[in-house]
């Protein structure tokens, strides 16, 4: 290890977190990103890795996409973040572009600097609009770290911060009877990730989503989909909900909106719901959320998504990888199963320690991975949506090596 690397790790341990450095070493993620390009990360000795983590799906378009670098560069030359409560052409343009990009009648936006903040806003919007209190989540969810999302997530540490928000409920996974029982006249909203990334890329059944939609329509609760990880092409569709054929009232688009170069996320909802915000403007503020630079960058990212339709490649490569991993799993029983859709896949290693060890061996073989944050026995595979067939072969090779080494 180089002197520079050593200094960085020692510095990080001293000023930020020593236990985390140890953790990263354990999963082979103690890599300094000296250069990033497309689907790859290079360390300072020039070793190439395929980025199979992509910062939890932020780098959908690959690392440092030139079009996004140019967009940010031009945006910064032309403008700055602006005064946050003001009207600006950048904010208006992004909101309109989102309305056109997102399927269904979702056309009003509230911008945020991160996904968790979107979820906080969605909960507040639901309570404000419905004048009801109860917020409902689904077991296995992972919505973020701030107050509202943490309360409705399956976060291992959440009890340490209790008491969390009152008037919340968790639906047991996949139990359609519970839908009718638990969602009632007091329910302000029901939130779900169509694919629960951190719980083993667990795909929520379309029939279950339909049942939620029906029940929300009956009771007047808002249906919120968080597509932070599944959205913008990762599931093999523009949004996973399109494939399921169920449209939510509120959609959360996470940080992949910033094209990997700027922190921005958005909550998109219907005009009907926006009546509440129209009569209560500026009760929810975000200093960084509607940054004019961020809006320009995200508008460019949306057109790049449109121009390149990376969901098509995600579907093709996702199928290839899934089939390949299933084949490997037959030979190496240490991989119990593979789940997910498109390029949001998860390998079940059965136990947390084994999952961590698998990540380390995969890193040795040139593939960076992370275990699931909610269900640690899974290893997630979320490379950039731009990978080639050759990259997919390299991924499979690294997975096979890791499986052999662990098993």
């Amino acid at each position: 290890m180089s002197r520079k690397q050593n200094d960085a790790f020692a510095g990080y341990a001293a000023t930020i977190n020593a236990a985390h450095v140890k953790y990263l070493r354990g999963i082979g993620a103690d890599v300094i990103e000296a250069k990033v390009e497309g689907p790859y990360v290079f360390d300072d000795k020039g070793k190439r890795y395929i980025d199979g983590f992509c910062a939890a799906g932020i780098h959908n378009l690959g690392r440092r996409p030139q079009a996004m670098i140019d967009a940010l560069s031009e945006a910064v030359a032309a403008t700055d973040q602006g005064n946050f409560p003001m009207i600006s052409r950048e904010k208006a343009a992004l909101a309109q572009a989102l309305a056109e990009f997102v399927p269904g009648n979702l056309e009003c936006s509230q911008f945020s600097v991160m996904r968790g903040e979107c979820f906080d806003f969605a909960c507040k919007l639901a309570r404000g609009f419905t004048q009801k209190k109860t917020l409902v989540g689904v077991a296995g969810s992972w919505f973020g770290q701030t107050g509202f999302p943490l309360t409705l997530s399956e976060a291992p540490l959440k009890d340490k911060f209790a008491p969390l928000l009152p008037a919340t409920k968790m639906l047991p996974w996949g139990d359609t009877d519970a839908v009718a029982r638990e969602i009632n006249a007091d329910t302000a909203m029901v939130a779900v990730e169509p694919i629960q990334a951190e719980s083993g890329a667990r795909v929520v059944d379309a029939d279950y989503l339909k049942a939620l939609r029906r029940r929300c329509d009956q009771t007047g609760a808002l249906l919120v989909f968080d597509e932070t990880q599944s959205g913008l092409g990762r599931s093999g569709h523009r949004f996973a909900y399109e494939h399921a054929g169920v449209t939510p009232d509120v959609l959360i688009i996470g940080e992949a909106l910033g094209g990997g170069v700027f922190p921005i996320a958005a909550t998109i909802f219907t005009q009907r719901i926006n009546e509440f915000m129209n009569s209560h403007p500026l009760i929810h503020l975000s200093t960084f959320g509607g940054s004019d630079i961020g809006c320009r960058v995200a508008t460019r990212a949306l057109s790049l998504y449109r121009e390149t339709s990376p969901w098509d490649n995600a579907a093709t490569m996702g199928d290839k990888l899934k089939t390949g991993i299933e084949k490997i799993a037959k030979k190496h029983k240490v991989i119990r199963s593979v789940s997910g859709a498109g390029l949001l896949l998860a390998l079940n290693l059965g136990a947390k320690k084994r999952a961590e060890s698998f990540c380390k061996h995969a890193a040795n073989a040139g593939l960076l991975l992370r275990p699931g944050a909610a269900a640690g026995n899974f290893v997630l595979l979320r490379p950039s949506l731009t990978i080639s067939a050759k990259d997919a072969d390299d991924i499979l090779q690294a997975i096979e090596k890791a499986a052999a080494a662990v098993g």
């Binding site: 910064v76 403008t79 208006a92 906080d120 509202f148």
Partner: protein, 475 residues
């Protein structure tokens, strides 16, 4: 996207502006457009540079006295910050949030060097709310206690925990019930806080100078008292320096005025140099705090906080502030502004009730609520963009970029003087009406104001439209 209009009058036409407003109204918020128009705050910002921007509609140069609530400490489009961003862009992207990087370490180290002694551990976040939530989680986690004492009118953010610590009904009302265990006492009332603190108190959280509330500096006695109280009770002291930090108040951090060091300090806004979001929580390397973080290293990951580009930009921002000793300029220019405002207050006791603040974080409280929007307009006519507090319109914050020089501060002071003169002309009309209690209530009611000022504004716009037609000018 169309190129940014240049700072020429008519660079943006009325028609274009109306189009942007209609799009914003349809896809973001109609109510916000109405509200901003009613308060004369519907200005577009082009040619953002130094301490201000240009209104592309009129070509008028504005000094920015709002600074996005304190984001533009180093000025707008600061060349040193732009340079750092451009260098970052040649190599970096957002990076990988949980990876080790020399840029994260360099920024963490710089924050530690600049912060009061003892605050030598860092956690990055995406924005202010994110790091306040982290601070409250850390306090609960590290103490094993649940209660948090905050202050009335406090403003900490809009995420779950930070909102729960907000002491304003305005932001809380529609979102309740919020996180249990939060208690509120009046700011600067040590005895009232003492009443609320017990062996169940995880933290006491305050802004050393309440910002959004209308600029209320914490007294030395209050802040020292909080420190002693926390030491006695085992509660953690959290200072939210999101608005006050990085030179704004005449010190690098506002807590330096009293020499009180908190256990946890949150920073955001101006750390991004007005260009690139970033935020951080600093905390003492006390056993309970570090122990909790090391036992639970993933207690608050942030997927865009402490990004590669963000850390490189923030480092340049901090180096710029440090090498130019901007806090000294804030103190000097702030003293001039405050003296001028106090003079105005003595001359105009029927308009200005109080002047408060430190450094370049100064607030004026007007006698009546309706004066806030009127002054916003009068100031705009004089080239100063200043916003009144949304839910306390009698309070106006003056937070110009702290790079402001002598000549620019002369202009700020002159603009405020002229605006007060305008107010004096209008007052004979408004004040007699305001004496009738019902009218005062109407004038001071936020929703009525939106309607009323909106109506006045439409009449004004109609007149100016007519006059443009008559003059045969562009429309």
């Amino acid at each position: 996207m169309a190129p940014e209009p240049s700072g020429q009058p008519g660079a943006m036409t009325h028609q274009e502006k109306a189009q942007v407003e209609a799009t914003f109204g349809r896809y973001i918020n109609k109510g916000q457009v109405k509200y901003l128009k009613a308060g004369h705050l519907d200005v577009m910002e082009s040619d953002r540079l130094g301490i201000g921007f240009v209104d592309p509609l009129t070509g008028r140069h504005f000094i920015d006295a709002f600074s996005s609530a304190g984001c533009f400490n180093v000025g707008r489009h600061n060349p040193a910050v732009m340079q750092a961003l451009s260098e970052a862009l040649a190599e970096s992207d957002l990076g990988t949030f949980d990876a080790v990087s020399p840029h994260k370490v360099a920024l963490a180290q710089k924050l530690i060097d600049l912060a009061p002694d003892g605050l030598n551990r860092v956690l990055f976040g995406a924005g202010g709310g994110d790091v306040v939530d982290a601070a409250i989680k850390l306090a609960r986690g590290a103490t094993g206690r649940t209660e948090v004492v905050s202050t009335i009118k406090a403003y900490h953010g809009h995420t779950g925990f930070s909102l729960s610590a907000n002491g304003k009904e305005h932001y809380r009302h529609y979102c309740e019930p919020l996180v249990p265990g939060f208690k509120f006492a009046p700011f600067n009332d040590l005895a009232a806080i003492e009443q609320l603190v017990s062996d169940q108190t995880a933290a006491v959280i305050v802004e050393p100078i309440q910002g959004e509330a209308g600029i209320f500096p914490g007294t030395d006695e209050f802040l020292h008292g909080l420190r002693e109280l926390c030491d006695r009770s085992g509660a953690l002291l959290i200072f939210d320096e999101i608005q006050t930090g990085f030179g704004r108040t005449g010190r690098l951090f506002a807590c330096e005025h009293t020499g009180v060091t908190p256990d946890i300090m949150t920073v955001a806004k101006s750390i991004g140099g007005g260009i690139y979001p970033n935020a951080a929580m600093l905390y003492r390397d006390a056993k309970a705090l570090v122990g909790f973080v090391e036992r639970h290293p993933h207690f608050h990951p942030s997927s865009t906080g402490g990004s590669e580009i963000g850390c490189r930009v923030s480092l340049a921002v901090l180096e710029y502030i440090e090498s130019n000793r901007l806090w000294e300029n804030a103190e000097k220019q702030g003293a001039r502004l405050k003296a001028a405002l106090e003079e105005l207050m003595h001359e105009n006791p029927k308009i200005i009730k109080e002047v408060r603040g430190k450094g370049l974080m100064i607030g004026i409280e007007y006698i009546h609520e309706f004066m806030g929007p009127m002054m916003s307009d009068a100031l705009a006519q004089n080239g100063l963009f200043a916003a009144y507090s949304g839910n306390a319109p009698q309070v106006m914050r003056f937070m110009v970029p702290i790079v402001v020089n002598d000549e620019e501060m002369d202009r700020v002071i002159e603009a405020i003087r002229s605006a007060v003169k305008t107010m004096k002309v209008l007052l004979p009309l408004a004040l007699p009406a305001a004496k009738i209690p019902a009218v005062l209530k109407l004038l001071n009611d936020e929703r009525a104001q939106t309607v009323l000022f909106g109506f006045v504004r439409r009449v004004e716009d109609g007149v100016s439209w007519l006059s443009r037609k008559v003059k045969g000018g562009q429309s």
